[in-house]
Symmetry: C2
Subunit: 388 residues, 2 copies
């Protein structure tokens, strides 16, 4: 059964089913503003857009590049043309402009302001990954309003997300999968996207819930979790998963953020864990990394698995079902040895979904769910009272 959600006009994952809840019905033909910053380094929105939704990017603006396609310039994105101005981009008939880079220093340069105004004047909607809300900018919002256009700030948090958790996971009927990590930046978004893509390829009834601007852009739904006040964190996550469940999805894949063992972003990681209350977790890990961004040693993979299962175990049983690897710095042979070693250590499948298909990850999940029984709690949701 497949219900709910508006039909997409373009499919981010051709070959899968074509039902995607889009952010906005006007983001099928985007011109991507990457002025001076088109590069293959890092996992910024520009790169992710070219990797995951190239069919929605009609052109990339970067006047500093001499190459004519992104493939030539940075090695991926295929024939996506690079243009030097918005005027030039308009011949590709975009419906919107995506701002996928962050200005150096955080201030919006005047040249960017000009191009945003020009885009609105040309009838383009704006999708922005900037932390600074363009929708709150007087000039832009007035212009968008006059033209009947939308400014979609991917960092924006709606009123619906400003809600305390209700513990609704107990009555929710949707198989929920969360990517978690031994550290930040270990591939939680990438693994989630690859599993989502593979499930859709199999025509499964799955929603992906993005939790950062890039994940939201690509999956078409979600909420930027770092922008939510702490006391609404689990509530916002519950809201997103309940929404997917109410739309009839059978599976929800939630993009994880941070790590329980990272002293900077552990609250976000725990908020996702307790808000999503997943049935299964995929632990993302970069085997070559020895210490975190604070110079602190990472927990062992066994300790990290135990920590996640223990913390959610206060409420329900949920297992780490596989290890998602980030092996970008390993050669082929080291990768083979590492996956083998991790499987021996943990008894779990270990796969880098950027190196090989996510088929085995999805097979493992389906095997797990075929045996998994959701824990039935002795208390009813109606017992919730005012101590929440």
């Amino acid at each position: 059964m497949r219900v709910g959600g508006s039909r997409a006009f373009t499919d981010p994952f051709p070959g899968g089913n074509s039902q995607v809840v889009m952010l906005d019905p006007h983001t099928g033909r985007m011109v991507l503003l990457a002025e001076g910053r088109l590069s293959s380094i890092g996992l910024r929105m520009v790169i992710a857009a070219l990797l995951y939704i190239p069919e929605r990017i009609v052109a990339v603006i970067d006047s500093t590049k001499e190459q004519s396609t992104t493939q030539e310039a940075i090695g991926f994105g295929g024939d996506t043309p690079i243009v030097h101005s918005l005027e030039e981009a308009m011949k590709y008939k975009p419906d919107s402009m995506l701002i996928g880079i962050t200005p150096l220093g955080g201030m919006l340069p005047d040249s960017w302001r000009a191009i945003i105004s020009e885009a609105l004047n040309s009838g383009l909607h704006i999708i922005s990954g900037l932390k600074h809300g363009l929708g709150q900018d007087k000039e832009f919002s007035a212009l968008a309003s006059t033209k009947g256009l939308r400014i979609h700030d991917l960092h924006h948090v709606t009123k619906s997300h400003q809600i305390r958790a209700q513990g609704s996971w107990r009555r929710r009927n949707i198989n929920t999968i969360l990517t978690v990590g031994t550290d930040s930046n270990t591939g939680k978004m990438t693994t989630a996207l690859k599993v989502y893509e593979e499930m859709r390829r199999r025509d499964m009834n799955v929603a992906m819930i993005g939790t950062g601007p890039t994940g939201i852009l690509i999956s078409g739904r979600g909420v930027s979790i770092e922008d939510i006040p702490s006391d609404f964190l689990t509530g916002a996550m519950e809201f997103e998963i309940d929404k997917a469940a109410n739309e009839g999805y059978e599976y929800a894949i939630v993009e994880g953020q941070g790590a329980l063992s990272n002293c900077g972003n552990s609250p976000i990681a725990l908020g996702l864990l307790h808000g999503a209350m997943p049935d299964a977790m995929i632990l993302c890990h970069q085997p070559s990394r020895e210490s975190d961004g604070y110079g602190l040693p990472l927990p062992t993979i066994e300790d990290s698995i135990a920590l996640h299962e223990r913390i959610i175990g206060v409420f329900k049983q949920a297992n780490v079902t596989a290890i998602g690897l980030n092996s970008m710095d390993l050669n082929k042979e080291d990768y083979r040895l590492t996956t083998k070693k991790l499987q021996q250590q943990t008894g779990l499948l270990a796969v880098d979904a950027m190196r090989e298909p996510a088929t085995s990850l999805v097979d493992t999940l389906l095997e797990y769910f075929s045996k998994y029984k959701k824990v039935v709690l002795p208390h009813d949701i109606s017992e919730i009272h005012d101590r929440i």
Copy 2:
């Protein structure tokens, strides 16, 4: 050695040393607005103010009360007069008005707007526990500005708190104590305040860091943690503790919030744990409570202790050193039996600091710190790099 901080004109804990960092140098003589809501039920700011800082409350406004003192009306607060109007309150020469109640329905009633304007026109500063920022209200902010008065919103989060964690706990030289809980509303603020009071009575060099509006009001420092975006949670906490350490305090007591095992507010609890990175924890617990606000069974006290020590153990050793009880619903004999049973179960002192002095809690902490060695990590803070 006692250093730093401005001297207070009134001492919230007479008998202790008189050095308190006040929120504001104009909150020594407050008139407390409690219109229609002066009551002994709940732990609202009104009650906390009358319990902990009665010497700073010159009068309480509640035109619905017939009694002339708070002692007569609600059983505590001593001779604090109840008045029916701000005009009447002015004869007690207040310097400020504290809004300690929340309007029903969340909207500021017109009658309250009138009294706030009247207070500003009478030369009073405003200290507000309302979630809605009065400092952002055009009418009030213009009036305050004209009169040279301050509006202090206790929920307000400064720019300094909007900072990512740096992992500064590794180089910090201050003994940090955090109150944690088996659930929400188990007495974390009360226990922290009582331990703080007892330490000050002993002339110890201690700061209390409030993490909610009431704790901030009473302790004179802190930040409303629920109002902080998730990604700045641990950073804001680090900032507050670093500030206390830099001012030369030897001890910091941090008011805990939520519970690691509460699926609504666990991110805040973990943010405080990883932001404060305490050396010692006091676990607050209501023995008679069987389920949380979601109707979920509470973890056993042994499990809760193990969970806290395990989660912080990823980084450093820190123990639960005592149990702070909330025994308001136990009779004297049941209280005696419960404390005895808990001590046998856990090997830890169990005390309700509202029932008996916090002397044994402080003795236990000092005994612990006399043996406690902070864990020296193999990595230096200079190694922090951009993966944070």
